[in-house]
Amino acid sequence: MKVAAVALASVTLATVVLATVASGFSRTEQVSSPTYTKDIAPLIADRCGMCHDAGGAAPFGLLTYADAKRHATQIATVTRSRFMPPWKADPDNGPFVGQHPLSDAEIDLIRRWVDGGTVEGDPRDLPAPRHWAEGWRLGQPDLIVTLPEAYTLQAEGTDVFRIFVIPLPVTKTRFVRGLEFRPGNAKVVHHANIRVDKTAASRALDAADPGPGYSGLILRSADYPEGHFLGWTPGQVAPLLPKDLSWRLDPKTDLVIETHMQPSGKKESVQPSIGLYFSDTPPTRTPAMLRLGRQTIDIPAGEKQYIVTDSYTLPVDVEVEALQPHAHYRAREVQGDATLPDGTKKPLIHIADWDFRWQHVFQYETPLRLPKGTTLSMRWVYDNSAANTRNPERPPKRAQWGQRSSDEMGDLWMQVLTRNEPDLVTLTRQFRAKVAAEDVNGYEVEIEKHPNDIGLHDDAALLYLEVGRPENAVAHFQKSLALKGGSAPAHYNLGTALSVAGRLDEAVYEYRQAIQIDASYANAHNNLGSVLLSQGKTAEAAREFREVIRLQPQSASGLANLAWVLATASRPADRDATQAVDLAERVVDLTGRRDARALDVLAAAYASAGRFDRAQDAASAALRLLPAEPLASEIRQRQDLYRQGRPYVAQDPQSRR
């Protein structure tokens, strides 16, 4: 074979010489096979160099002739199959940052170079060497944090997901313009999703799991900060944000890094670092994170074509900044579209060969404007048959929604900017309700699988309260209470859900149970007082509010509630206008005159004491804070009474019946 190759090469050379003689230099270029220096080196430097440099994320470098030649067949094979360079979206989507797929002509050029014997060519043709920064690609970070102790990745098996929690040592509020992830061991770290947790909940899970990080689920408290995607895929670094788009980082915040790793055949040490880039000034714009997706996914074993769709019609104009589809191993295809109000369909993203291994945040080069009334839609297709090579179960099994990679998901996340703050409020309020309604489905699936997980029941109950389904909240808090074996907070939670559901006698019972276990439980006394008050048991309610203030003299709710009773009780014997004014003034001070309800209480207290001018002023101050309904209307009605020189007196619930 060696002999044959040499012979072929000399034939080519002869052709070249003849062509040169015949018609000059330009013809030579057409007939000669591609060379490394002229044709291949520039392509590799541009499309592969960000990973396949000496210290990059790829398993080997490709930036010298020797290295390129040594992987020539492989390069030709993986470019032809479009496994490399990894870019899963259709080439006409976007344009997105970092999008530089090879054209068919370029792929063919590589094939011809390999078939032609990987000719080196004239060294003078080599492009100027391109230097990929050795260290941080966004420059020297303002803060670098590193996983304190390296994680040891097992030698074998399939993908490993580990969640690392790194506390951020900031002592004052900072504004973050950029974040760069360095995997610490690029040979095994495949991608990372990064979130922030302002609570200690993720940290607690980390502490409970031996070794660095924990294996399990991302908590609800760990979220993308203020509508910003954070993550890392090999070869990609999200550029710095414009200064007006930074995100706020407060002290006591942890980074939560979900790290996807592939075992290498030997034990590997993994110790990622993250560089943060700060801005001096707070953001003036905040994006919103929209999430299309279903948590009712339930794919029968063997199903080849399971389809999940979702859509949402924008209530305001937006600019789409970035997209991130997310699903697991059974997903095969995703399509995201925007249908404009005039019916025109704009494809946002299409991945025909979804690969869980190559997830990416697709950031638009120029944000995509979509007018109010545009319908965003997504469509996922799953193959849960044995024909899907990546199916994690063999033989295939029923697959339901779940965060674990053995379960399935189907989301399309979109980062959008609104024109102004009121539009943002409109969008996020409406969208939050949509997401919460979907999330309860996911919790029900999780709970079916883990019926004795107290945290799941508690979270689900809170979600049900958020979406206005208190009876479901009651059921989950009851289960949680049974599992916990009667703790004070469990009784308290159940009491709260029962009060929202209007089951007041049962609520009173639960609060009393909580107080019996923990007599100093101020919130339980407070809520018990509120329920008693709405049952018309004014004196008993006042006793509970006094207990709150005894336990916590600075409790705004305790002070406000007692002031309200003393100012508005239906029986004159229960009223004490002087004390009500005193308490209400303390609450208004405590809340910095920025709480409409506190000012409403103060107004009622003044009116009770006959000081109607001051009552009207306080009511006006409350209304200036634009309180939500129905409070705003109630304050207006009360203000009318004060104008007429009449105090507000609570109706006796008994007399209402």
Partner: protein
């Protein structure tokens, strides 16, 4: 091409002849540790230099030799290290000799030693270099990782270790067919190897020789 074909025929005949002779000699003298000679034309290098050796020669009593073609920087090849060690642990005591072959001429003794230490191959398999692709051509290997099982100088299995990798960029979460293990089980139990050739997935040996 014709000279190559002749060459292969000759190797086959000679190896059969040598094996037959050795068995006869071994039978007569009954000496343990007697070296069984096979195709003398195939030579590989010892990792630390020294004279070239015959990779097909195995201690007497060996039932088969497994050649595992590997390279230090091929990720798929490396991910198989634990499986190779498991197979060596299972079939070593049953008379199967495991040999790790590094065909890349660019790989040196130091790199190979470090690679063997990192992936804990030492003890499980002997290592040789095959920079002239002598053995590669003899068994017809094209990929790292690829396995060849040789019995009596004859290749009875060549291909993947298992079916975990379907293509570059496409893999199963776990293998469903353990082709090399099945071949070895057949050899040690005296059965016919069910699938004598399969397609390996990994790095191309042809690229090493460019």
């Amino acid at each position: 091409m014709i000279p190559s074909a002749l060459f292969f025929v000759m190797v086959y005949v000679m190896s059969r002849w040598f094996v037959a002779l050795a068995l006869l000699v071994g039978g007569l003298l009954a000496s343990p540790g007697q070296i069984v000679h096979a195709a003398p034309q195939v030579r590989v290098q010892q990792v630390d230099g020294g004279h070239a050796v015959d990779p097909l020669a195995a201690p007497a009593g060996s039932k088969a030799i497994v050649f595992l073609f590997t390279s230090t920087d091929c990720p798929i090849s490396n991910r198989y290290a634990p499986e190779v060690r498991r197979l060596a642990t299972t079939y070593g005591p049953k008379g199967v000799v495991f040999r790790l072959i590094y065909p890349n001429p660019a790989e040196n003794a130091k790199g190979i030693r470090e690679h063997m230490a990192a992936f804990a191959y030492a003890g499980a398999a002997q290592a040789f270099r095959d920079p002239k692709l002598d053995l590669v051509k003899f068994v017809g290997a094209t990929i790292t990782p690829e396995a060849a099982v040789v019995v009596d100088g004859k290749v009875v299995y060549r291909g993947r270790i298992d079916d975990r990798y379907v293509d570059l960029g496409l893999e199963r979460p776990a293998a469903t067919t353990h082709d090399l293990g099945e071949a070895l089980e057949a050899v040690v139990t005296g059965r016919k190897v069910p699938h004598p050739t399969t397609q390996a997935v990994g790095c191309y040996i042809a690229d090493f020789a460019r």
